[in-house]
């Protein structure tokens, strides 16, 4: 539930959203970015998916130092499974 700027600050609240439609994730993140800049104190995101998907998502936050260890295969003649 959104509140307008200038309204008295409500008690802290949190909400959990589960998305099974991958196409909706991008839109949600865009919305979160706007809300985080203007209204939210903080945003905590939990992502469940393959290692590569999570790494890709975190990579969009432009923090290359963020430590995420992906499961790797090294054989050069085998398609990647990640």
């Amino acid at each position: 539930m959104a509140t307008n700027k200038g309204e008295a600050k409500a008690a802290p609240a949190s909400v959990s959203v589960s998305l099974s439609d991958h196409n909706a994730v991008s839109a949600l993140l865009t919305s979160i970015r706007g809300i985080a800049q203007e209204k939210a104190d903080s945003v905590r995101i939990s992502v469940r998916g393959s290692s590569s998907a999570v790494v890709e998502l975190l990579g969009r936050f432009k923090d290359p130092e963020l430590h995420v260890s992906a499961v790797l295969t090294l054989r050069g003649d085998v398609p990647t499974l990640e």
Binding site: H67, L72, L74, G76, D77
Partner: protein, 340 residues
């Protein structure tokens, strides 16, 4: 398309091969940000000799990480564990001494799979546990047991072990710590803190065998336990990084900064590199970045080794080209010569 920073980054990596002499660089905020994003801003300070509060903070953190690493390795060896270090936690100590290359996230250590339990026991006894720093509430939080189980079910490494320390000398870099504030250097209401992290591996890739690493292991720079041979450091770091850059959008240049000194030190057994490349059919996943290192340090890589690696597979299933445009932030030009 080039940001103009690529040449400086290239020059700094070249400097890392010998680590001697002074490099004059016109430092700008954009350049510093770019190098920091690539994990090699330390090279700028080390090569130019310019003082840097950030580097001072990196070095303070690093020296406590080294102290902790040595103590952990001593305890593991005392417990009968065959501990083999690899990646930055070993090679930065070997080639940069008291200086760090940015913030080193963790110590990577390979142990035999049948010694995992004693390894965990030693870590718990030293105060390590499965926990992460919560950047919102600014405190450590234990990982949920299901998360730990999930990581360890699908991975060849344990969930990271961490421990917080607050050494007195951290106060001397408090301002830089507040500015940096990312793993493993954070600030809470008591001041700056270091999150020591250990990644315990029972393998280093989902499709690799560990016997060769143990057979070829050599004494660690830390003065206790063992580490990968020079040859294993070279092929493993470069192949691993090539896969990570291509598949996982990894942008760090730091693996070159601690692997190139391995190549230039003259101690690499290139027969081992060629043998492993043949066994794993590494082909392009090793050739591109090793050829790049050869460009950075002319004469350091035998041309016959590059030819041998190139011949290890005809498969191009993992041939993703040079990957240098992505790393150095330029767009590679159209390969006209391929059509001539």
């Amino acid at each position: 398309m080039s940001s103009g920073h690529a040449q400086v980054a290239y020059d700094l990596l070249q400097w890392s091969g010998a680590r001697s002499g002074t490099l004059e660089v016109d430092t700008t905020t954009d350049l510093a940000t770019f190098l920091r994003g690539r994990g090699i801003d330390s090279l700028l300070h080390l090569a130019s000799g310019e003082p840097s509060p950030r580097q001072d903070a990196y070095d303070v953190v690093w020296n406590h990480q080294v102290t902790s690493t040595r103590h952990l390795l001593e305890e593991l060896v005392r417990g009968g564990v065959r501990a083999v270090t690899f990646k930055g936690g070993e090679l930065v100590a070997r080639h940069y001494g008291d200086h760090s290359l940015g913030l080193i996230a963790d110590l990577d250590v390979l142990v035999p799979r049948n010694q995992i339990e004693i390894t965990k026991q030693v870590l718990y006894q030293l105060g390590f546990r499965h926990a992460t720093f919560d950047p919102v509430d600014r405190c450590m939080r234990d990982r949920d047991c299901r998360d730990v189980a999930d990581i360890e079910l699908h991975h060849y490494e344990l969930a990271p072990f961490t421990k917080v320390v607050r050494p007195d000398d951290l106060a001397s870099v408090a301002d830089a710590a507040a500015m940096i504030d990312r793993h493993p250097l954070h600030v809470d209401d008591q001041g700056p803190l270091i999150v020591l992290q250990v990644d315990v591996h029972h393998n280093v890739a989902a499709d690799a065998e560990t016997e060769g690493f143990f057979e070829r292991a050599v004494p660690s720079t830390h003065g206790v336990a063992e580490t990968f041979s020079h040859a294993d450091n070279v092929w493993f770091n470069l192949t691993r990084h090539y896969n990570e850059v291509a598949l996982h959008d990894q942008r760090s240049l730091r693996p070159f900064a601690y692997t190139l000194p391995e190549i230039t030190c003259g101690a690499v057994d290139w027969d081992v590199v060629e043998k492993v490349a043949a066994e794993l059919c590494l082909g392009p996943t090793l050739w591109y970045f090793l050829a790049f290192c050869s460009e950075l340090a002319p004469g350091a890589v035998p041309p016959t080794t590059l030819d041998a690696i190139d011949a290890t597979t005809t498969s191009r299933v993992r041939d993703w080209g040079w990957q240098l445009g992505k790393l150095f932030d330029f767009r590679e030009t159209f390969p006209r010569e391929g059509f001539s």
